[in-house]
Amino acid sequence: MTPDAATVDLVCAACDRPLEIGRVVASYMGQTFPVDLPRCPVCGFVYVSEELASGKMLKVEQALEDK
């Protein structure tokens, strides 16, 4: 689940800092795994693009649901 470069231009409105790719934890159906996603280096707000949500992330969700 790697983000495309374009999404990283976003800025955290609360901290006024551009998002940076960082290690975050994704969880679903009791499973957790680390992924690199754009997030605010200060407050940790993680961004999930629509492309990711309806693409790879959806695939993983479905695979976990069918386990």
């Binding site: 800025v11 969880s27 993680v46 999930v48």
Partner: protein, 779 residues
């Protein structure tokens, strides 16, 4: 799932039964597969099918007595397929193209076959193919001597015989002619053969065998006594053919080949030390259901050549007359069953396997949740197999074991919870009454689709019925039933019974066919009636006329497939409005609109395929009497009017068949407003208009964005909550290129994202999407 029940379901589907031709053929030639290839011109492929079971194609294709043709179902529609002639044309063109692969026997054995007739040579062929060493001993000068004299050269050319004998030699079979085997221990004595081989087959043909009287037990007619099932003789290791004669049937090449094949199978079992009897039922017959009436009669193709042999083109045309025999009655009628490329027998097995998986992927989950439970398959199936029953039981099992994928039904269950919430439910006596003889239960679909109809219909019923007409706005619990949530479903039912008790046990009158089915057995004392027959009794309001002039094709809700009283009443009511209505194949064979079984949520593509297929059945506007059906058709762009649209047209004079699908958000708003409107207008309650999220925050959502949200099952109120959360906490992202805000909030089990822009007149929503997975910064 109960394995016995699963077996019973499987047994009902006839699709895997052999076609009649194959069942009638003692060699089980797959004629259906051959014909399918030949009609496409693939004679080589057809030959491969033929040659897998026929030992001497060049011979048999000329002289087979084709019991298959007597069984062919095409006979009922123009004349049986000329199967033997097809096989001859196929062999003629493709002889020898199939490579024969000799199996590797783990321990090759030596077998002596006495007699080079068709039976003996078939045994030799089969045993050689199994990898054994076979020697054939023949008293006559040539192999297949009888056959050479039995037919005219024009029927069976000598070359056909030679080529097959040559083929046998290539398999390594040795044929020694002019050698007569006798009893005793001479060089060609039976004892010598028994001593020198692992098994001996006496394929002497239908003749007395007094020469072996000392060695073997003979029967009353002086022939070797043979066990009809196993072809064993009185001497271990010695087998015999010739049984067909004993059965009193005339000599035929096909029977000889069958006889030899059976003996070879016994010998192979004997050589492996296996049981000669286990699992050898030669069951014939078939119960494959074939809807012959679906095929127009077509006479057999006549061969131009004298003698009746087909040319390539003639054979292709004749092969095309094969239906082919299949059942698939349900699959042909159901977009869901067609979707997964097989048929119920296979599906039941897959569903059962899915249910039994302990570790690993449950690949059939979505398939199980894609059935609308509409009952059409059972209607069409010769054995009434209902895939809905299978899928519902599987869903319940998934829920019980915690294996139901949450995403499939979450939204529908949330929506049901909303439909049961205080915000939209109501249960009251008619204004000015303190008892209800009956209570109108419109169902949440009608309230969501056209609240105005609920209000006007209720007023009408109050005016025509005495004893107090109560009103119940609630949900029958169909979604909990369809999703296999038994506990939740029981809870919904208990709630409904309590409401009914509170109103003094009135007769419930419902406008929804699904509600009728789901509430029918709520309580032994509850009487639930369909609105439509009652309405037919009390009549429409004075002067009601159909608001549509053109012809209407009537679509009945699948839940009312067997509700003849409602079906009749609806047709009478439509006629009473002056509408011109015609059938779409009749109520019993109606299809689902795609909403049933919650398929819209679990598998929108299948739901769309189902409704689109129905839409394709007529260009006329559809007349429906289920609000969910109407919204489904409207969503897919089909002009459809509810019966109530005809009788109670909108005040603004809008085209009743063009009323748009309100969508999930719209249905919620409609239900909210309905409750407020009725409480205020009928009961004089002091209530304010419900908060409309899009108005309060002034969300501006383009229709295309709204449609996209619908598709993703994101409600306007979800978007509103995300924006509210972002604007009050300041937690959001900014896109410096566009100036837009991007925010998210966790709503139940979904993270909802909204990209928006705060403008001068309101919040412009650019897009919304969601995911179920959570993501958090590690620290």
């Amino acid at each position: 799932m109960d394995p016995a029940q699963v077996k019973a379901w499987e047994a009902r589907c006839t699709e895997e039964q052999p076609p009649a031709c194959r069942a009638a053929c003692p060699l089980r030639v797959d004629v259906r597969a051959m014909a399918e290839k030949m009609k496409a011109g693939d004679f080589v492929g057809a030959y491969a099918v033929y040659a897998t079971v026929v030992p001497f194609p060049a011979i048999l294709s000329h002289v087979c007595d084709h019991p298959c043709e007597a069984a062919c179902r095409r006979a009922e529609a123009g004349g049986a397929l000329r199967i033997r002639a097809l096989e001859q044309a196929c062999v003629e063109e493709a002889y020898g193209t199939a490579r024969r692969v000799i199996q590797k026997a783990r321990k090759p054995k030596r077998i002596a076959v006495v007699g080079a007739g068709l039976a003996g040579l078939t045994s030799a062929f089969d045993l050689a193919m199994k990898g054994h060493a076979v020697t054939v001993i023949e008293a006559d000068a040539h192999a297949l001597e009888t056959l050479r004299h039995a037919y005219d050269e024009t029927i069976l050319p000598a070359s056909a015989i030679e080529v097959e004998i040559g083929g046998l030699a290539k398999l390594g079979v040795t044929v020694n002619c002019r050698a007569r085997v006798t009893a005793g221990d001479g060089p060609l004595g039976l004892d010598t053969l028994v001593a020198g081989n692992d098994a001996v087959l006496l394929a002497l043909g239908a003749r007395p065998a007094s020469a072996f009287a000392e060695a073997l037990r003979l029967n009353d007619s002086g022939r070797i006594a043979v066990d009809p099932e196993t072809r064993t003789t009185s001497r271990p290791g010695v087998f015999a053919t010739g049984l067909h004669e004993r059965l009193g049937t005339a000599w035929s090449p096909l029977r000889s080949i069958t006889d030899g094949r059976r003996a070879a199978a016994s010998i192979d079992r004997f050589l492996q030390g296996a049981s000669l009897t286990a699992g050898r039922d030669e069951e014939t017959g078939t119960c494959l259901y074939v809807n012959v009436t679906a095929h127009a009669p077509q006479p057999p193709v006549a061969a131009a050549q004298p003698g009746g042999a087909y040319t390539h083109a003639e054979a292709m045309a004749e092969a095309a007359r094969c239906f082919p025999c299949r059942c698939l009655e349900c699959v042909n009628a159901c977009a869901y069953l067609a979707r997964y490329g097989a048929y119920p027998k296979r599906y039941v097995r897959e569903i059962y396997n899915n249910d039994s998986i302990v570790m690993g992927n449950r690949k059939a989950n979505r398939m199980i949740d894609s059935c609308t439970l509409c009952g059409l398959c059972a209607e069409l199936c010769p054995n009434d197999l209902a895939m809905g029953e299978v899928c519902l039981e599987a869903r319940r099992s998934m829920v019980r074991r915690g294996k139901m994928p949450p995403s499939h039904h979450d939204f529908a269950l949330r929506d049901m919870a909303f439909a049961r919430s205080d915000e939209v439910t109501l249960a009251r006596h008619q204004p000015g009454h303190d008892a209800s003889a009956v209570a109108f239960f419109p169902g949440c679909a009608l309230a969501g689709s056209s609240p105005d109809h609920v209000a006007r219909l209720y007023a009408h019923l109050c005016g025509r019925l005495s004893g107090g007409v109560g009103l119940v706005l609630d949900c029958c619990g169909a979604p909990s039933h369809w999703s296999g949530r038994e506990t939740l479903h029981a809870e919904v039912r208990t709630g409904l019974v309590a409401t009914w008790e509170r109103l003094g046990r009135p007769t419930l009158i419902t406008a929804c066919a699904s509600c009728l089915r789901h509430m029918d057995d709520l309580h032994p004392d509850i009487e639930v009636r369909s609105l439509w027959p009652l309405l037919a009794e009390v009549g429409w309001p004075e002067g009601a006329r159909a608001a549509i002039a053109g012809p209407l094709a009537i679509h009945d809700p699948c839940a009312a497939r067997h509700d003849a009283a409602s079906q009749d009443a609806v047709r009478k009511l439509a006629a009473g409005l002056g509408a011109t209505v015609h059938e779409l194949g009749g109520a019993a064979r109606t299809t689902c609109c795609g909403f049933g079984g919650l398929v819209t949520f679990a598998n929108p593509e299948v739901a769309d395929a189902i409704v689109d297929r129905r839409i394709g059945e007529s260009d006329d506007d559809y007349l429906v009497w289920c609000a969910m059906c109407r919204d489904s058709f409207a969503r897919r762009g089909k002009r459809a009017a509810h019966l109530l649209d005809l009788a109670f047209p909108a005040a603004d004079g809008g085209d009743p068949a063009e009323r748009p699908d309100p969508g999930f958000s719209g249905r919620r708003d409609n239900r909210r407003r309905l409750k407020v409107r009725l409480a205020r207008d009928l009961w004089g309650d002091d209530v304010s208009e419900p908060a409309d999220p899009s108005r309060e925050r002034r969300l501006i959502i383009d229709p295309a964005v709204r449609a996209d949200m619908e598709r993703k099952l994101i409600l306007v109120e979800d978007v509103d909550r995300v924006v509210l959360h972002a604007e009050t906490t300041g937690q959001k992202l900014k896109d410096p290129r566009t100036g837009r805000s991007i925010a998210s909030a966790r709503l139940g089990s979904l993270t909802c994202w909204v990209e928006y822009e705060v403008g001068p007149v309101g919040v412009v929503v650019h897009r919304a999407y969601g995911h179920r997975m959570t993501v958090e910064s590690s620290s």
